[in-house]
Symmetry: C3
């Protein structure tokens, strides 16, 4: 799609150099054929060095767009990005492409549905009722239990186990909001990367990245009914137990342990070897190597003292 045409379609004034736009990228990673955007001022530092063909910005930052990149100036750049994203979302099921390439020794149950251009490694088992979307890659020795859905473009490593009903690659919860209080979908153009030796429990939901990837690193183990929002990164060998919820863009270091029904706010980091006790609610970035609990989160020892104090207070008052 031509940049000029895209600008017209989303209602943004355009008088720069026209050219072909093939997708959307972050300021940092966008290629010279991609549209980018500045929403959060903390990414201003990436603007100067961007290679993007064009950047959606508010008037305030228009002058900061570097030479060679077209500034698409609008009062609501994020809303315009959402509108633009619709032009780059693939159709839900591609009609053209190759039938799946299935490696030696793999067992695919009757009735498994494949998209186009799927690659399945050796000694993989895919059980009945699964859907494996366009361009998905599955590594050697992986076992996918029944009724699992893997959306287009996701990659699953070797020796993974994915339990029944789990969904990998669903759209992240991304919307731009109009002044009238309506919500415009930011089409989620990234994917999910599940590395080797990962096990994921039943009926989990792992959202695809908005533009880049949601990543579950090597050897991490997820229990049932876990929610992983877009752009999260779960570190190597992390243990994520039942009904945990990770908000968007949360990064866990290696060997993080999250107890049952714990959760995190978004855009924060949990250091390696941190443990979050059951029900802990992580509200800001925390150091690794320690044990935390409570909501808002505190060190576990403090939480124990807090509960003891409350108990004493209550006895005194009555």
């Amino acid at each position: 799609m031509r940049l000029g045409e895209l600008a017209r379609a989303i209602g943004v004034a355009f008088d720069g150099e026209d050219g072909e736009i093939e997708g959307i990228g972050t300021l940092k990673h966008a290629t010279a054929k991609q549209l980018s955007f500045l929403e959060n001022p903390k990414y201003l530092k990436d603007l100067a060095a961007t290679k993007a063909a064009a950047v959606l910005v508010s008037p305030k930052y228009a002058d900061a767009v570097p030479e060679g990149t077209v500034a698409l100036v609008d009062e609501e750049p994020y809303l315009k990005l959402a509108m633009a994203s619709a032009f780059f979302a693939p159709e839900p099921m591609r009609s053209e492409g190759k039938e799946p390439a299935i490696g030696e020794g793999s067992v695919v149950a009757e009735g498994v549905a494949f998209g186009k251009d799927v690659t399945v490694g050796r000694n993989v088992t895919i059980m009945p009722g699964c859907y494996i979307g366009d361009d998905v890659t599955i590594g050697d020795g992986t076992l996918i239990h029944p009724n699992v859905t893997i959306y287009h473009g996701c990659t699953i490593g070797a020796r993974c186990i994915i339990h029944a009903g789990t969904v990998i690659g669903s759209d992240g919860y991304g919307f731009a909001h109009t002044k009238e209080g309506k919500h415009v979908k930011l089409h989620q153009l990234g994917n999910v990367v599940v590395e080797d030796d990962v096990e994921i429990g039943a009926n989990c939901a792992i959202d695809r990245g908005t533009i880049d990837s949601t990543v579950i690193k090597e050897g991490a183990k997820l229990d049932n009914l876990v929610h992983v929002a877009h752009n999260c990164e779960i570190g190597e060998y992390s243990l994520i137990t039942g009904q945990v919820g990770l908000s968007g863009s949360t990064k866990l270091g290696r060997n993080v342990v999250m107890g049952g029904q714990s959760g995190t706010a978004g855009h924060l980091e949990i250091g390696p070897f941190a443990t979050i006790a059951a029900r802990g609610g992580v509200t800001k970035s925390i150091e690794g190597g320690r044990v935390y609990a409570g909501f808002p989160l505190m060190e576990h020892k403090k939480w124990l003292r807090l509960n003891a104090m409350l108990s004493r207070l209550l006895e005194k008052k009555n």
Copy 2:
């Protein structure tokens, strides 16, 4: 089914005028061919004006049943209602009826299973592994990802997106309890109405109404693993994030925002433009336009002060 026969079947004395009963309705909405019931005294005001053929009531309220309506008097009217409901539950998969009517431009994947008398609009996409139950209607331009289940009688609006694994129209959690502590199923005879431009994340569960509808209004967006109990109403453009749980008969106004893992008790109202922070637990009806947090719920500012106070107390005590 004849009223006399029904009364006999559920063990209730009957000596009124007999007639054909075609279903169950609330006091307010029951037709002259429906059975109704009085369980909660707060609905006494509806009893006088009911058009129901018959009403299950405890002896205490027998005299309040209006003329022209048969009083079915029993010490346990709700239990008898549950027993009666079994006679009006449709069979799980109807064997007779028309094959689905699929609108122009729609793409239905191979292996999608349809019930009878389904109507699918234009330019709809239904991906593999979905089940679309009897009498379901799906509006134009809607996209249904793989392995979604839509129970009989539900209606989905236009331009909706429903992510993989989500279940719409499962039975609400409704039981009458016997004196021996057993539970008798109140068959859930309502449906789910999803209006236009709604997006629902992966692996959600939206229960059908007990007698009327569970409603998700225009433009509302639900994240993953959300639980919506029977008879809820989610207002226009509301934002319901990951792992939120709504108990039965909760009504949200328009543009309500519910943060991750928040929840509500049942039978309450949340005013328009209210925001519930993550983990907030709504225990009673609240005004719109404000920000709330905590469990039990309070205004967000108060919750921040509470946490600050606890922190100070804890430091002082140690």
Copy 3:
């Protein structure tokens, strides 16, 4: 598999009497053809009376292994157990066995996938998209909604209702941890037993027992998105509402009520007729017949007083 061969495969010294090993059992239940293990010293009392062919133990307890049972001594017996478990896990879909035996009056939708040696009772309904694994038994009159997955070896009672998307028999979250912080899967060799008249909501996840069974007893009713970890036991007529999570080896007595989003730690008991209010977090065993709330859990009355006290304190401080 021969014991000597197994010992070699998992790297444990072996010089006892060799013999055929057919599986893994707890100290209490292992047969003379099974391997057992001592991980938790609280089971020392079972060691003396075990009938197991061999027991994995740490050097400290080697002498406590009774005569006639081979002591497999290792510094990390649980890790070795996990390694051994891989040899007894059945293949995910058995290729040999009988086609399902379907009882009279049962309706099985087209496209339902069965494993081998499945037994389905009379008047059962199995809706589209379900997977019924090897050796599963389903009792008379049970209704299984679409896209349900029942793993191998599980048994479902009579007159049960299982809602769409639910997974029964997924692997429990069981791993042994290496010194390097990696996790070795303890293959889950037990099953799930769902007794008669149980109803399970949509998109639940019920894990199979590690070695024995996870049990949901007669007449219990589970709402949507409930997580039941391995080895749990849910008592007769218990009511488990939406988004509840039970950690491993938790035992609920009969008629326990758990409110929405409540949860439990593992290895504890909840007495009969106990009620846990919504969001309650059960951290240790509790007596039946009472009402509890809060996290950490306390009696409901105390929780109300605690909240009232906090409210008063907050007003005073401001």
